[in-house]
Symmetry: none
Subunit: 225 residues, 2 copies
Amino acid sequence: MRILIVEDEKPLREQIQSLMATEKYACDAAADGREGLFLGTEYDYDLAIIDLGLPLLDGSSLIKQLRAKARNYPILILTARGNWQDKVEGLEAGADDYLTKPFHPEELRARIHALLRRASGHASSVLRYGPISIDTSAKRVFRDEAEVELTSFEYNTLTYLAMHAGKNISKSELTEHLYAQDYDRDSNVIEVFVGRLRKKLDPEGTLNLITTQRGLGYRFNLDKQ
Amino acid sequence: MRILIVEDEKPLREQIQSLMATEKYACDAAADGREGLFLGTEYDYDLAIIDLGLPLLDGSSLIKQLRAKARNYPILILTARGNWQDKVEGLEAGADDYLTKPFHPEELRARIHALLRRASGHASSVLRYGPISIDTSAKRVFRDEAEVELTSFEYNTLTYLAMHAGKNISKSELTEHLYAQDYDRDSNVIEVFVGRLRKKLDPEGTLNLITTQRGLGYRFNLDKQ
DNA sequence: CTTCAACAATCAGGATACGCATAGTCAGTG
DNA sequence: CACTGACTATGCGTATCCTGATTGTTGAAG
């Protein structure tokens, strides 16, 4: 999951960033509306958290512009307590939920979970793809009823691919979603981990689990059931 | 265990809160139906206690809306003595049990225990996992018929893990359910307590009681019997 | 058909951050 | 004021992640 934070107050921004870090979400932060618009347009986020009172470009204009550019990820807005007009304006601009400052970190976290869950539309916690099943609440993976032990990063990579089964996912999309902004592009971590996943989940290569689309990315090849 | 209380009468609400505190449950309280709906929707509770006569949004509507949003934790309703219709309506809306006011704290305590136990799929108040058994009503723990003395926090950690046996429970999920509201995130309490549990319950490490899935969480490894 | 460049896979070793043990501090309680 | 239990601080070991070189594969150009 990759999350965008647009918040001008540095302490709050950093607090949110560290909260996202504990959730193992990759996140980018912008300190004003302009920068927010740039990042929000440039990258494909899973969620954005936007303060309404921003320098250079205010929150609801930012949201309007993002929506106008067909950026459809869920947006959570932050408002000062009691600013009814702002809140309503933000929601009308295209935000999905709001939170009034100050808030408890727990509250923010819960909202984010709810938005992400709603966005992905996954009701059950067990995803089945033929012989492979992924229990997202237990964070365990099985092949033919036998558990396959995955590390945290392997697990994240697999679920991202599986949740976009049938689609070509480029390596850069994967790194973008699994890592925070500043990540060394010319590394081959993804290849390494895809290799590990293939070895662990399909050592004989009979499933054709993850195929390589040269120049395009990887594709998870089992249908969801 | 994390519990939600929705009750408009302040004295009663606080009485219940302090009762929950003595039980070492983390709990949040709401004074009206709206707030109750918000909290109940956004957080993952283990149980909710809801008064039927509430301002802004009445109890049974609240329950209906929670259930409609797939919030499946057990709900205990509180009714004034003799309000048959209300009680029935509440149960039909999706409550699991009721209690008529005024009630003895003991009675509330017993009902809560029963509901939590039932929710985790255990009929009796003694949970058995191989050589480990947990008596949830007496809050005592045994290994091979010998009692193991646990402190209250150790006990809570153990029961939460045991009630979700087989699942990887992240440290943040543990803190969410064991502590109320905000809690300092970069602390290693959980690690310390898991360490103590292992030492007390399985000093030789023969049971493989709680395993660590680096980056994913902890897992209680004994099957329920 | 062969060659070549670009891209991908593999492997092993090093760096890092995660989790653990231990000990120490602090707060509450009798 | 001693005692217990909750939490913090520190250093250490190691699983996990990342790197870079090497080997393998692909597809287009000659």
